[in-house]
């Protein structure tokens, strides 16, 4: 059964130096509050997995939490570069960052295989492209019936998976709705999990018998952090703060403006700072 913890305790208990950590949320429901807590607790040498590293990993990598990044698209969506990730890759600042790069299709399949307890995923992919030349994890398998060759990637089975969700009930069952990305897969594929939620309610208010629900016993810790996904968003709670994404380009371009922003908005704050965003109106 899921435990209800505060964010600091959940990160302390679940996330350790050197862990392989996946924090998912495809544009929607990115667990920013949890990322900030990991930065505050100064975790080091993490292997970070995310299809789209987005600002959350730009921040964590810029603050030195990671030694490796596994990803498939590394920009600031619709805006430009994730400057802190580029600085780490191109200039090893604040520390060297190894990268393992995939396509979206491969990573989505790798999460799916992880959730399904398979050792690898196969796909019709990586045909005629250069990535397999630089990523030895991309291999091939032959269909035992047709002789066709398919690409393979290892299943993703993180030490820790962290996602943000809409709400939990008092037993710790968790509801997702809208763009659900790979979040169910990450939770099911990970050894330990943290789910931050907008609220805890008596009744999940699942709109459909087929609603996307993670039963309590699949979740390690449930943490209530209203607004905890900002500047990403929570369907029905608040909208994506696109202006923040645009503004981040300038904040993150230089090391000193980045560090100043992090000091003011992350290091000297706590999860409560996200609550103001929860009142930004329904998405």
């Amino acid at each position: 059964m899921a435990k209800f913890l505060d964010l600091a305790s959940a990160v302390e208990e679940m996330v350790h130096d050197g862990d392989v950590l996946a924090m998912e949320g495809f544009t929607h429901l990115i667990p920013f509050a949890a990322g900030h807590e990991i930065i505050r607790q100064k975790r080091r040498d993490l292997t970070l997995i995310r299809m789209t590293p987005d600002l959350i990993y730009d921040q964590m990598i810029g603050m030195g939490c990671a030694s490796k990044l596994i990803f498939s698209w590394g920009g600031n969506p619709g805006v430009g570069s994730t400057h802190r990730i580029r600085d780490a890759v191109e200039n090893q600042w604040p520390r060297p960052l190894a990268i393992e790069e995939h396509s979206h299709a491969a990573m989505a399949n790798a999460y799916e295989a992880g959730a399904a307890n398979l050792p690898f995923a196969m796909l019709r992919g990586y045909i005629g492209v250069d990535l397999p030349k630089v990523n030895p994890q991309i291999r091939k398998i032959t269909c035992p019936y047709t002789g066709e060759e398919l690409a393979t990637v290892p299943a993703i089975r993180p030490d820790v998976g962290i996602v943000h969700a809409l709400r939990a009930d008092r037993e710790g069952n968790v509801l997702l709705e809208g763009i659900t990305g790979c979040q169910k897969e990450v939770v099911l594929a990970s050894k330990r999990t943290i789910v931050t939620v907008e609220e805890v309610v008596d009744d999940l208010r699942a709109s459909s018998p087929n609603s996307v629900i993670l039963p309590s016993w699949t979740v390690g810790a449930v943490v209530v952090v209203p607004g905890g996904s900002h500047p990403s968003y929570a369907h029905g709670y608040y909208k994506r703060d696109n202006s923040f994404y645009i503004a981040w380009d300038k904040v993150s371009r230089e090391r000193d403006t980045f560090l100043a922003w992090m000091e003011e908005n992350v290091m000297s704050k706590g999860p409560d700072a996200f609550a103001v965003h929860a009142n930004g109106g329904a998405a």
Partner: protein
């Protein structure tokens, strides 16, 4: 009376025109998204737009900044998980058109969005492939939209992120890929289509006011012109109005 418009607007409008009412289109963010929604709001109201975030048959009122803005889900017929999107929908072969952009392109419409310089010691690290490598082979055909320039239209790509017709134009067929690959490349100066023999992207239509010299000047290889080159029809008032409307709404919504 002729209307005044920017080359970028001509590019988006020309791209939109390439889409048909019964297309099922896998939409990339940015220029492809603008073109696809312009098509939907003008001549192709029934077009099915699909974004890799899992949103199927979405009808956004403002253009999304990201591939997964709430607007896409709110206006979709349904939204599926990302693994399902890539497995059942893209790999499932259900897309008639994949719409891509890129940082760099070569004459056979191979694209690079990964890296400039050596992969392990990059001069410029670009965002990476995202959905593109599998979009390029699993959609029935590919439209590409890119503004021209010598840094973008290059003689030789440092890295192939997604395959067009292959480094020499022959690899796609040789690998047994059944889909057509890039059938149209829409730029701010002109439209390219692959030569039926060589698969080299060839200028088939030049936008009003643009010249062959400008095209040559802004291309990193010596571009081939088709035997008969058309003049692209200029944007009409409705196309411009709808495009500018949605872009204004988008700007207001994103507060950028």
């Amino acid at each position: 009376m002729s209307l005044s418009y920017k080359p970028n607007e001509m590019m988006t409008i020309a791209a939109a025109r390439a889409l048909r009412n019964d297309d099922v289109c896998f939409v990339g963010i940015g220029a492809p998204s603008a073109a696809c929604n312009l098509a939907r709001l003008t001549h192709a109201p029934q077009i099915t737009l699909i974004y890799e975030s899992g949103t199927i048959a979405t009808k956004p009122n403002v253009l999304p900044l990201s591939i997964g803005d709430g607007e896409l889900c709110d206006t979709a017929l349904t939204t599926v998980s990302v693994p399902e999107m890539f497995r059942y929908w893209l790999q499932g072969g259900r897309m008639t058109v994949g719409f891509l952009g890129g940082a760099q392109i070569d004459r056979f419409a191979n694209l690079n969005t990964t890296v400039v310089g050596d992969y392990h010691n990059p001069k410029v690290r670009l965002p990476g492939g995202g959905g593109a490598p599998e979009i390029a082979t699993n959609c029935r055909e590919i439209f590409i939209i890119m503004a021209m320039g010598k840094r973008a239209f290059v003689d030789k790509l440092p890295f192939i992120t997604s395959m067009g017709h292959g480094p020499t134009g022959r690899e796609r067929r040789a690998l047994g890929v059944a889909s057509k690959g890039p059938t149209r490349l829409i730029t701010d100066y002109c439209i390219f289509e692959p030569d039926p023999e060589t698969q080299e992207m060839t200028v088939v239509s030049i936008h009003p006011g643009a010249t062959r010299e400008e095209i040559i000047e802004n291309c990193g290889w010596t571009p081939t012109f088709a035997a008969s080159v058309a003049e692209t029809r200029a944007p009409d008032a409705l196309e411009l109005e709808v495009l500018r409307d949605i872009q204004a709404r988008t700007k207001a919504a994103h507060g950028g």
